[in-house]
């Protein structure tokens, strides 16, 4: 089966402006899109550039906008895409582009760091593990599985409009620690998300949930954060 891939290209060394380049090649319905990109890079056009590592949706490197939707190339099969038209592949929306499909995620990381993404527990550690029941663990079970791919934040209209918005991934990270029964920095974390550019910029648009390759119900956790903020004394 033949399919055409229309890929965003930009190399600051030689291009003034980005452009799209089309590649047509043989694929199977079960071919993983990342393998198609590798195939292009290794056999047709060595200059095509993208990030990838694990090849099975766990390292978060290969987030890109595929047919207008953010997803991981290594988790997208050709059969999930409409091959009757060229398949459009762009770098993740709204992040600056370094080259081709490689984006600069520093802003994203900065926000992750802003919510103090590390467990703080001021109590003297017991001689063994902190106890946490399976129910308590379930609260954060889904939230901690975020792989920092950035698909969600890049898909959020609030983030498009407002660069400073913390964004779904960082809010999810904040949730993961605020609702971790072992963490004691709750109040400070709540203050961080309770900012004009924090949790209140979320208008429950759900683009983030649609984009998240780990199928995390991010909006749910953001909503819980909002409720927690308004019901806490800050």
């Amino acid at each position: 089966m033949k399919a055409t891939f229309k890929i965003f290209r930009y190399d600051p060394d030689k291009d003034k402006k980005p452009y799209y380049k089309e590649y047509t090649l043989d694929v199977e319905p079960n071919t993983v899109l990342l393998d198609v990109l590798n195939d292009i890079k290794w056999h047709y056009d060595g200059t095509l550039t993208f990030r990838r590592s694990c090849a099975h949706a766990i390292c978060g490197s290969c987030g890109m906008t595929i047919n207008g939707k953010n997803r991981l190339a290594c988790q997208t099969l050709i059969k999930d895409l409409d091959t009757s038209k060229p398949i459009k592949i762009e770098p993740l929306k709204s992040y600056p582009v370094i080259k081709d499909l490689v984006v600069d995620m520093n802003k994203f990381y900065e926000k992750m760091f802003k919510v103090k993404p590390y467990l703080v527990n001021d109590n003297p550690p017991p001689g063994r593990e902190f106890l946490q029941t399976p129910e308590e663990q379930k609260l954060i079970d889904e939230a901690y599985s975020c792989i920092w791919c950035g698909c969600c934040t890049s898909s959020c209209p609030s983030f498009w409009a407002d660069d400073d918005y913390l964004g779904p991934a960082a809010l999810l990270k904040a949730y993961r620690f605020i609702f971790d029964t072992r963490d004691t920095l709750t109040e400070e974390r709540l203050r961080i998300v309770n900012d004009a550019d924090g949790v209140w910029r979320c208008h429950v648009i759900f683009n983030c949930v649609e984009a998240c390759p780990k199928e995390i119900n991010i909006t749910e956790y953001i909503s819980r954060l909002k409720l927690k903020v308004v019901t806490s004394k800050l």
């Binding site: 600069d104 429950v204 759900f206 119900n217 819980r224």
Partner: protein, 137 residues
């Protein structure tokens, strides 16, 4: 930040950010939100107009009847049917948003949105017919 970044590389990146990414895929959630935002703004402008109109009451019956005549033309009546649609949409989608935020409705947000759309169509058409009938009378 503790991530090293070469100064050279900062100059090179291509900024392609826009305030709205029109060619991003439209999911139900974005539809719901854009319509909610538009309907909210429309309602505010209507509210301003409405208060200004009603305010003529305090100037006595004559003044009031005069503006009522201005806004009583068929054009305004038809617009009123539109207003009803805007209200129904905003009201029910607003409730959807509240259910999501307050009562863990996020899992069912799509179903809730379909219910909103359904109620919107039924109530708008139903209400619209009644209003149209009043108009004809």
């Amino acid at each position: 930040m503790s991530l090293y970044m070469s100064p050279k590389y900062k100059e090179q990146v291509l900024d392609r950010k826009r305030w709205f990414e029109w060619d991003y895929k439209w999911f139900w959630g974005s539809f719901a939100w854009v319509l909610h935002r538009l309907s909210g703004w429309a309602l505010v402008f209507y509210l301003l107009l409405h208060i200004w109109v009603i305010h003529h009451l305090s100037r006595g019956p004559a003044a009031f009847d005069q503006v009522m005549q201005a806004v009583g033309t068929p054009l305004f009546k038809v617009l009123e049917i539109g207003l009803w649609g805007v209200i129904v949409y905003h009201a029910f989608n607003g409730m959807r948003v509240i259910i999501v935020d307050f009562w863990h409705g996020s899992k069912y947000q799509k179903q809730l949105f379909f219910i909103v759309l359904f109620l919107f169509v039924v109530l708008w058409v139903g209400g619209g017919i009644i209003m149209a009938l009043h108009m004809i009378h």
